[in-house]
């Protein structure tokens, strides 16, 4: 496409970014508000951060969410990568259509439906085979792995498709067995996509309220569940403090990953030029 953005385009983009970032900025500003009223400025204070750090329930839920997100993202990267290899490299096989629908449908499926259906599955399984015995961290984890797998598969398969397949062919022609081709050639090339897939899955899991509410049990409260119940009671500056921490961590993480990906990208573009 063309190379220039008109003044209209620049103004529009600026307005768009104000729309996206102003609410977040306001949240951050009011997290330092002395007053309990979130909309009236009562002087600078960091007391809400102190209160947040003393909130045992909040910290416990945050740790629970972190564990689930870490495990769910790791498992989803493994299963999602397998799924994308199947979709991009396998060609036609029996049941391919069903397979791709099971990858694309979770991307848009309303969360209330996914949550309800998984809960009913867990209940039916507990009735017939006695497993999972109760609902808790394990059931949330299974639910998260399932929807995260779909997102990872989309991210990884787009990278896999862009990748030069002749490198794999060359390795195969030279006699490398398929697993060796995968671990020595394919995996290093698609590694950035695995990392962004993992980060995406981690965030999605950390963020999920609806599905976790359906499949959780007593004693397995995740961070969004605690945030939701305290937000229902009204606005609280403590939630603003939590929001600020989340925004800070997420943007540091994303910016680092982005900067790193940019560097890898420019290096891989320069490399062939040096060889030739």
């Amino acid at each position: 496409m063309g190379k220039n953005v008109s003044n209209f385009g620049k103004t529009y983009l600026t307005l768009g970014f104000i729309f996206l970032y102003l609410p977040i900025l306001i949240l951050i500003i009011f997290s330092f508000n002395e007053s309990k009223l979130v909309t009236v400025w009562g002087g600078f204070s960091t007391k809400w951060y102190g209160e947040l750090l003393r909130d045992e329930q909040m910290l416990g839920a945050a740790w629970m969410s972190f564990k689930i997100a870490f495990l769910a993202a790791s498992a989803a990267v493994v299963i999602g990568t397998m799924a994308s290899i199947v979709m991009v490299r396998m060609g036609q096989f029996k049941g391919r259509a069903a397979f791709t629908s099971m990858i694309t449908a979770p991307l848009v499926m309303p969360e209330v439906i996914t949550g309800l259906s998984l809960l009913l599955l867990f209940v039916a399984m507990a009735q017939t085979i006695g497993w999972p015995a109760g609902r808790g961290m394990l059931t949330i984890l299974i639910a998260h792995i399932t929807f995260c797998t779909a997102f990872v598969a989309v991210v990884v398969s787009s990278r896999l498709r862009e990748m030069d397949a002749s490198l794999e062919e060359a390795a195969r022609d030279l006699g490398a067995p398929p697993w060796k081709v995968f671990f020595l050639i394919t995996l290093p090339i698609i590694a950035p996509a695995l990392i962004s897939g993992w980060l995406l899955a981690f965030t999605l899991s950390l963020d999920d309220l609806v599905i976790a509410s359906f499949v959780s049990g007593p004693g397995s409260t995740t961070l969004p569940m605690v945030v939701y119940s305290s937000v229902r009671l009204g606005i609280s500056p403590k939630i603003n403090a939590l929001a600020t921490i989340i925004v800070l961590l997420a943007s540091t993480g994303v910016l680092t990953a982005w900067w790193w990906a940019q560097r890898v990208e420019t290096r891989s573009i320069k490399l062939p030029a040096n060889i030739s």
């Binding site: 385009g9 983009l13 949240l27 299963i79 099971m102 694309t104 309800l116 599955l121 598969a153 937000v231």
Partner: protein, 291 residues
Amino acid sequence: MSWGWRSVIGVPYVWLTLFFLVPFVIVFKISFSEMAYAIPPYTDLMTWADQQLTLSLNFGNYSYLFTDDLYIRAYLSSIRIAGISTVICLLVAYPIAYAIARAEPATRNALLMLVILPSWTSFLIRIYAWVGILKNNGLINNFLMWLGIIDQPIAMLNTEFAVYIGIVYAYLPFMVLPLYTNLMKLDSSLLEAASDLGAAPWKVFMTVTLPLSKAGMIAGSMLVFIPAVGEFVIPDMLGGAETLMIGKVLWQEFFNNRDWPVASAVAIVMLLLLLLPITLFHRYQSRELGN
């Protein structure tokens, strides 16, 4: 096929079948059972007594959905709210995607990253941010009253208007991304050819760019519309009691009334309504996923 390949297909296939496909079959089954004060709180469809296998299908949940007009109104208003939000989202996102696609390659990635960045922070908290802005004593009302434009606060929170803002705000990146991808693939020589032949810039846009970005518009719209129909958090936090949406009805049926069979029937009807949009999205996405 070797053992290795079988397991590469097998693991994701079995996982998704068991935890994505089978659950829908169970929801379908339970939508035909009756609520019971037991654990689990529904009756079995098949019972075995006196050497008789009895299959009892209860269509009561479905007929209930169509007799109590709460449900029909909730389905219709969900579709209306999701539809209007999708159109607003498309109108807001298209110029953003277009401007990013036309930017210098170096700034392009940074701009795209800035669009996506908010969705990496908590969805719940971004919706919560709007509560403080839209409330009666919130920032907008305080500001307008300070300016002297109004002397009574305008009710914005707990209205349908707030739900539109919430959906557009939360789902905007999902609309921008497919549009951007689509516009980037656009063959620039077609645009040049059109303008070389004397077409005005707006005409080039209307006759070349817009029709060629149809696939991106459909994908983005479905990515917004389908989840928005079943949205729970946004109508619950911003819509108030007045705004009726089916995701909220399902939630209340399940958590407040503890009527699992009716909740299942609500889910099945929602799924049937979304079947067409999901198929549309799937057609686009499988073209993207395949070769």
